[in-house]
């Protein structure tokens, strides 16, 4: 297999201790590749990085309006959250509003990803519930769509359930691929199907999410609402000390960024009409984050002052257990940032 380029490296002292290879594509709404590295035709499981696209169904079906969802719920539908009280409480209140409970969630339980939230839960004698699962907001969204359209709620995570089939169609339209139903499929960590999509097409979907001018009106409206919700409530999209939250707190709607498991990241840049998809070969989130940070700088979405304020986010220190800085996670020295020229680039 041809090796993708090194995108991120981890140092200890003055030495590079580990490094991460990967691929990325930045694409416009016509599918033209603006920046890329590595194999962008390889299919990847988008995992949680496409939650903003899955959340479109919530708006397009009218379910969001019918149940009076606001930015909070829409941001949670896009979230891989920390399981902090602010996330869990909001999801459980939302479920109550649609006549469901945590027991209807089919995502399994998960301990809070945030150490402070973990301490609070366990030291109070609590146990993790399904609403603590980082995907609980997305699942509440699926349940809301099922309720609104009169589908059974049980089994809503199955590939053949009408909610998943609706989202499949939506993903086909956004990625420009009409055969996702027969592409390689896996089961995501939270139980729903995840379908392999070539990285370039994933970036195209994000470009269309950023600028859905050629999409039907109801989709344009849904994209605008989801983008607004993510930018308005970035803490609900992730939480304490999280990359997505810290970036969107600075960029607002200039960059909607969303992490996925196994080193995937998606981003949409409405003012540029561009979408981005990125995958680290080995699945490391630490590498996906610094690679995305490097691209946010390259695309001048983050200016110099903003980059300085976000220094520890864009190039996070490696700390020892005593809290001392002993290294750094940073973009690779030869990070590939050339613009694509000529005939190469089209999804």
């Amino acid at each position: 297999m041809h090796a993708n380029p090194i995108l991120a490296e981890v140092t200890r002292g003055d030495t590079v201790e580990s490094w991460h290879r990967g691929s990325f594509a930045v694409v416009d709404t016509e599918g033209r590749v603006v920046l890329s590295a590595g194999d962008v035709e390889a299919a990847v499981f988008p995992r949680s990085a496409i939650k903003p696209l899955q959340a479109l169904a919530l708006v397009e079906t009218g379910a969001a309006d019918a149940f009076h969802l606001d930015d909070s719920e829409l941001a949670l539908a896009c979230a891989s959250h920390n399981g902090e009280a602010v996330h869990v409480d909001a999801v459980e209140q939302w479920l109550a509003r649609i006549g469901c409970t945590g027991g209807d969630l089919e995502c399994g339980v998960q301990l809070p990803g945030d150490t402070k939230a973990l301490r609070e839960l366990l030291s109070a004698g609590g146990r993790e519930r399904r609403a603590h699962n980082n995907c609980s907001g997305k699942h509440a969204g699926f349940l809301t769509v099922a309720r609104h359209l009169g589908h059974p709620t049980q089994g809503y995570t199955r590939f053949t359930h009408p909610v998943q089939q609706r989202i499949l169609g939506l993903l086909e339209q956004m990625t420009g691929l009409d055969d996702l139903a027969v592409q390689p499929r896996g089961i995501d960590g939270c139980g729903i199907p995840t379908i392999a999509v070539p990285l370039g097409n994933l970036a195209l979907a994000m470009a269309r999410f950023a600028d859905p001018g050629d999409q039907p009106e109801h989709r344009q409206h849904a994209c605008a609402r989801i983008r607004h919700a993510m930018a308005a409530r970035p803490y609900l999209v992730a939480g304490n000390a999280r990359f997505c939250t810290k970036i969107m707190e600075v960029t607002g709607e200039r960059a909607l960024v969303k992490t996925g498991a196994e080193g995937v990241y998606c981003a949409a840049f409405p003012h540029l009409g561009l979408g981005l998809a990125l995958k680290i070969d080995d699945g490391a989130t630490r590498a996906a984050e610094v690679a995305l940070g490097r691209l946010l700088r390259r695309l001048e979405i983050l200016g110099e002052d903003e980059a300085r304020r976000l220094a520890d986010t864009l190039q996070p220190p490696v700390l020892n257990r005593a809290g001392e800085r002993v290294g750094v996670v940073r973009p690779a020295r030869d990070f590939p940032i050339q613009e694509v020229t000529g005939a190469r680039g089209s999804v």
Copy 2:
């Protein structure tokens, strides 16, 4: 940079979702390379994978005898443990025996790595102490050597402290390198120095640990005692659900295996007179484990029956949050297992 070969892959459904590159060397006591892949001359930080070598000082100085240490303490000195009560209690009792307390440990605190232990600690209103740090046994060993030789205990983690200097000399002898003092150095997660060693020399050190026949008598004795302690108390070397523990529970002294951070693994095979060192480029432990498992099969250290019993250890399932198997971590399809022939192989 020339890419190391792919050693492990992670599937979801029928698709390879992520993959891990790396290098390894299996070396005899003369430094002849028996098996290898990738760049084995590249220097790596051995991290915790050389704890068994660091523990030799405890025996060689007479400190272990002076303080009546048994297999338990010697196994803990080699451990990256889970912070379970069995580990933490034993370390704190050991510290008391040498007139120290947890406050003398310079390793920083760490939450237990095992979920059950974490729950027990936090739900009882406890907080993590320094003895919970996965390296606390190694640090107790350093303190024991300092006490025995009359060195100050404070600052025992510093490169210039006599305990660290003694271990530096020991590592130079075992790796066959006499210039480790001027090699690239970093600070380990627990605060001690970690020094870059070419992978082949790390394997040589483990071969000599496996079969120290050409070493001075006191070292032969120390190697035998440490090997015996690891094999006798594998649970103390790691703990619940841990690769090191599960492998050594089966192999006993046929394979002494020790994990290190950032995807490093070392192993010693006394009956073969071989040592092994392995590094995953991207630092992933999941990949280091399955690559080592593949090599344990290749070297026939694990037979077919044993491999069957260890199936979920050698090729661990990827589970979703509901506990269903959705993929597997496994050796790469083209895992490089050719023997080294001809002139190539010597450290």
